[in-house]
Symmetry: D2
């Protein structure tokens, strides 16, 4: 931590800062420059971080030196973590290919789509049962019935399933049905929910919030990890941008930026990032090329009558074409797309 | 709803769109332009909104014409709503002056600060008991003990109290202590929480999310209202910006923009919007001048040792000076700052 | 300047950094922390700034301590500068009320509008002769004829005139007609143009670029000042935002933020910031309340047939009403709105 | 163009809008919905665009249907344009690999770097002679001497050269030395400069502005094309973002989004987009994978002592490694990296 003092700070003020810092049990290291004086603070930055040092008179700014997370950091754990999703490894050279409809609508719908995406090469099936919708008047998901359908279809096709949990009271229920729990972008800083998913043993798919920095995102992962669950897969899905041509601004550079800081796998979701089927394939390819550990795509066989976000879904045959391209790119990058384990 | 068709759309595709729209029970109104063909869709736009029309082949884009909220809209309810916060009216010419520390730390701390802000003219006391902190290692609030202190001090000083609720399971508990429930920026689209606060009878202070459009924000208010609770006060607190000079980008124009669309009161929070004590007074003044129905300010008497966000708090004497300026501006604008009702 | 070294930096690398810094003529001040080592660099930060220190192996980041501008900074010149615009003082308690159409269209149009805005209380007349338009097919301004009309009407009504200059080759020509030169938002980092307006003796109205930080903006003012012209008035006119409800995001907090850093006057332009006549009056009020030294508003008497940006113009009677409100706010704030000097 | 009328619009107002539109020579097509009335306007949208229709009483909003550019649009010209840069084709399956230092510093420096990047596979050499720097006190480039060095080194190594032009008065001079003219991000809406480069016969590298939408960017290309020069290569180089971890926010989705709208080639510049050497390789790969027609990278052999932007430059051996990866990706995508033509 570095404390930069204001121009014209008095000696008394400097001494007050030093006393304050030392009173907290840290060492202060004074350095007078030509124009400004700075104080280096030596000790456990973690603990220091929560002290409101910039409120002290004479202090111009306080500059942290260490990243604020530790369990999820590369510094603490240099090798890449491989997260096991009921037999499908993710990270460390293994790619998650997550596909399925935005919302579970019916058993038939899920079966048709699961068949299509599995044939195409997907290894994890997605489908929303509890949907966080911007409007209270939109379809909110089938709830528990949706979970049952998802589980049943996952079992029929031998695919692990991921679904979003939005309510801390339902983490246990959702965990009974799903192999992996998704925390959505709008809940990335719903710390109550993060703590709850930190207490189950399921892998968690943590989407990046729409205005979250890479640091914010990793801090949310740290929340989960701090409760004991380190089986976390991060997912970049676009941040808020200014161009109405796209739903969000796909921040592909956040993938390598995050992977340099954390040992956790990072996948991309070009469906939500762009909201446009014509941009999903190029953005999926870009994600893999940037080093992502997988691709999450929404697929629907009847987008015209989908109950949620149909307009941004790929059709199964489009997904199949995309998977052919992703497979060849994966081979070039020496990455593997594992097949789900057959369960007897 | 207006459907714009792609250039080169075929007559068959046009007919398919018309059939689809009419099959849903709407009227379609075709209009062939020089370069583009459009279809006006007539009927209940609310219902139409959830149909994925842009997934239909030949459709270039779908343009809604009506705003997506209704209970909270000015169109539905032209007069300004006055929200009663245990005797303090907010809106319709009455200004909420909300002040207090970021977090409740102790009974003494709350008493000292409450005394200072009440004398200065504040009419609602704030203090956090359950704190949503970016880091799992930061102080998370005193919890229930914090609620008890806040209630006791509110009673001692005759001020209604507002505190944040972050967990749907605690809405009932928090409601037993607080006069007003705050939904924080990070939870603005925590729809599970919104539905829960929509089912109590307490007024709700709904902060704007960091990347929420005015429409998104009003949709979140609509969530609460749709569950039966229309006692909502909106609060602008800055959106994510690109300039590191300020914590957030204070969107003062959102105040009149929101007030043109909704009958609900809208207040401003320059403390979170700027994160800088030196910018809080000018931004508070700007908020009132732009038409805000109140100002929310964090005040701490010992910012240097505050357990949360001390660096952005005003000291009581600074708050007093600010209130003098706000009072004279309120008088100029013909607005009143009500005093809390003495309760025997 | 503070150099933060990477974790695991070697002693050799540290020595290399120190040698490098000292080789440039600076002092290096080493400070080893628990987790990180930092080097304080002491000397002329200005000169150091252009050195690519972060490219040196082992360096994690380089943190400047001083703001990068000096001629325009408060530190160099603590009192507020008053810029004289042909007899109208701006800054230091004097408010510029700039009004007029987006573009000069004809002598009659300018006369009608000048009459309206002068009666309403404006003290500087604006009108564009060379228009920077997003489309090459839009009206590009009357050019020299526009300058002649503007000058003539300014003289008839005894108002100084401001107009935009977009071409370094025309700075001299425009200076012959205008009292004040405007550098538009799109040209805020057109350094060639900045250097050119820095060499004339006219006051300059420097609009903030759409994605400029406050520092970037002040650096552009520094460009002008570094060429010898310090008669600069800054103008906040909105930055790029994500909400389609408004044309730009009005950054009212940038006004006090800039004024804390610079001695130059800062005015606001709610017309371009919001693009909506219904938001201009509240945002103009907000600007003054936040400490702005004036308000720039586009006014047109026939917005329906304006050749440029008619949709965002106030009508003269709306401007008159706004001026009544601004005058009463100015009185409250102890600011004066000077009248233009009558010239015989 | 679609005109949406306000709720409660009167019949008189509707008639006034229709009369206005028809008075301009367009057809008006009225459509009364359940809640809103709309008017479709039929005719040359280009001409209509500059009419301030939204200023007419009763008009809620005006929605354009056609994109505002034509010469550069795919609709006007469906096949991809191949831009010839002195023998190096760009676009239509041919990839531009542009590399070189930020600034030309000396003949020796340019020779060493040119040798390195040519061996690595670059086909166009870059180097700045006139540098647009944020600070007036930073190195501003060698000017004409820089142009001479760049030309000489380009000739020695048989590579076409690109350099930035920032001053409309120097377009002719720069054209005498360079094979391709760069218009930088800060000048993307310097329309005076765009018109000037539209009048020479050299290919133009048009960087995207930091807050430009894809439409804005293509409109700037349209400016150049409208003056007669259609030899334009677009370059995505990051937009302003909120995360201090990266210099800009690399908008890789803008590449396919732009290519769907225009026939012009689009390349990427991960050096400026990220400002971090560790992110350049993954982002370069992502750009190609997303469909870019080339990659622009800054390379310096002594970044520690570079006079401009050294911290974001790759070293020659890092560029060589990156080129190996880009070549294998290009092969997978069936794209070619042409070698510069040897000129006798």
């Amino acid at each position: 931590m570095i404390i930069v003092l204001k121009q014209g700070v008095t000696d008394e003020q400097i001494q007050h800062v030093i006393d304050h810092v030392e009173g907290l049990g840290f060492q202060a290291h004074l350095s007078r420059g030509t124009y400004r004086t700075i104080i280096g603070v030596i000790g456990d930055e973690e603990r220091l971080r929560s002290e409101p040092l910039s409120a002290i008179p004479g202090v111009a700014s306080v500059i942290p030196v260490l990243p604020p997370f530790k369990l999820v950091s590369r510094e603490a754990h240099p090798e890449e973590t491989v997260v096991d999703v009921s037999g499908v490894p993710v990270g460390g050279g293994y790619l998650a290919m997550v596909a399925g409809p935005c919302a579970v609508e019916s058993l038939d719908q899920m079966r048709r789509i699961a068949e299509g995406v599995k044939e195409a090469g997907a290894n994890i099936l997605r489908g929303g049962a509890y949907k966080p919708r911007t409007s209270p008047y939109s379809f909110q998901g089938l709830g528990k019935e949706g979970l049952e359908i998802l589980r049943q279809v996952g079992d029929e096709f031998g695919m692990p399933v991921v679904t979003e949990v939005t309510d801390p009271r339902l983490v246990e229920e959702v965990s009974q049905y799903a192999d992996m729990l998704q925390v959505g972008a709008r809940n990335m800083q719903n710390f109550v929910l993060l703590k709850e998913v930190g207490q189950v043993d399921h892998p968690v798919l943590l989407k990046r919030g729409m205005s979250a920095t890479v640091n914010d995102w990793l801090m949310s992962a740290e929340y989960i990890a701090s409760k004991g669950n380190s089986r976390i897969v991060l997912c970049e899905r676009g941040v808020r941008g200014f161009d109405p041509a796209m739903r969000n601004l796909y921040d592909v550079a956040a993938v390598p930026a995050a992977k340099l800081l954390t040992h956790l796998p990072v996948i991309v979701d070009p469906s939500h990032a762009t909201g446009r089927p014509d941009l999903i394939p190029p953005c999926a390819m870009a994600g893999l090329a940037a080093g992502a550990d997988g691709v999450h795509v929404e697929v629907h066989d009847q987008p015209e009558s989908a109950k949620s976000d149909g307009a941004q879904a790929l059709r199964p045959h489009e997904y199949r074409e995309l998977m052919r391209r992703l497979e060849s790119l994966a081979a070039l990058l020496h990455k593997q797309i594992p097949r789900p384990v057959e369960r007897a």
